[in-house]
Symmetry: C2
Subunit: 250 residues, 2 copies
């Protein structure tokens, strides 16, 4: 491929860097460039297409945001070959299950931070609180050494004032709730969206700032329907798919 003149390009509606992006994307999906392979250097790509290094960089950046490649300063840019985890969203399933296999056993959660504070409006509405305080917990979950998700959990503070400590001890919501006499809870609703990661999220998830996160906003209730936990979980989209458990046919 050669980059056309600016005059030709302007009529076609494609800029040089977009053409280069598509070209490189093709080489990756055709497996001409395979996971672990090193991409040519910015300079050589720039020379190959007869453009400035900035232009080549912009093309490369677009691929990096898709998680197709990963740049390492001083070293080079490499084709990523990350395995995809499938996280099941269901009535009772809260596990991370690997497509490949036995990784699930090594899935582990960790509490980053917790606080008791006034309930934000949205949270109060979801938890059915007219007014009052909530326990907010920030957590992460990893499978093996790969971070999978970061989550923010809210519980009514009057019902479960020290849920954070239990969670810190057990490393699992289910176990922490059991310690408070709650043996079962159900997923009442889940809404999924996607956006770019914030700087903090990117750091916690070990992805590039600007990479995509899947955002799942969910409400867990007791079997009788009482709201228990409102949570917002952000998954690294390049590593995770959400598997929606089908509703049971009546």
């Amino acid at each position: 491929m050669t980059i056309p003149d600016p005059a030709t390009r302007s009529s076609s509606g494609y800029s040089a860097w977009r053409l280069i992006t598509e070209e490189l994307r093709g080489e990756i999906s055709d497996s001409r460039l395979r996971p672990g392979d090193r991409l040519p250097t910015e300079r050589s790509i720039a020379e190959r297409y007869g453009v400035n290094r900035h232009t080549a960089r912009q093309a490369i950046a677009a691929l990096a945001e898709d998680g197709l490649i990963e740049s390492r300063r001083g070293s080079g840019t490499f084709i990523t070959g990350e395995s995809v985890l499938v996280h099941r969203i269901g009535l009772r399933t809260r596990m991370v299950r690997s497509l490949g296999d036995e990784e699930s056993a090594r899935s582990s959660g960790r509490v980053l931070d917790s606080a008791i504070e006034a309930a934000p409006e949205e949270v109060a509405r979801r938890l059915g609180l007219t007014d009052g305080e909530v326990v907010r917990i920030e957590s992460t979950r990893s499978a093996g050494d790969q971070p999978i998700s970061v989550g923010t959990h809210w519980f009514a503070a009057d019902r479960l004032p020290d849920i954070a400590d239990s969670l810190r001890r057990t490393g699992s919501i289910t176990a922490a709730l059991r310690a408070h006499g709650i043996d079962d809870y159900l997923r009442a609703s889940t809404v999924v969206g996607a956006r770019h990661a914030t700087a903090t999220e990117a750091e916690l998830l070990a992805i590039r700032p600007g990479a995509i996160v899947l955002v799942a906003e969910a409400l867990d209730t007791l079997p009788d329907g009482t709201p228990l936990q409102y949570l917002v979980t952000r998954f690294a989209a390049q590593r995770v798919r959400l598997d929606i458990e089908p509703p049971h046919a009546d």
Copy 2:
């Protein structure tokens, strides 16, 4: 906010443009900048933070990719105030339902293209075909004048050879299947991911190239479990949330 010296920044790990991005993002989510408002010009942002216009542009570009803002050449950059549609994924619900409301009535599908061809491996596996041909249909769905999703549908060609024509006539999968004597079908599985849009998808969905699409990969079956339709739907993430119908408690 002031951008610290490069020396100070290098220890903090944040570049100037990232700091500006976060700052602007905060102003938008705090509603200090509201939908329809105009962002300060690149030049004034650059001056405000004492950086080069390129640096300001890089910060602004990150917000544009999130769909938070929209740049119009010659005019300015504006805060987008797109309404969010909630698309319900459930056992039988296939409608697009607006948060606001009455938009749902104006939801309409359109067939872009169809062909009968050999089943790709993945599709054959999902549809339970050992070998054979499939009908592939490319479609779009809009609510009002806003494109919501583009979808690729696959049906076994021996079962429903002219499903494409029926779909073209009726504009609805449900109606098209009814015309072929199929009165009911169920969602058997859904897997959701997210990635950046391709150039084609961006054009069809009226989003910026590089904006995010939610990708839902699903299998519909007859009530007896026979695979009926395998489909991959791409939603404009900046306009759509997927609402997962909770499984019924036994």
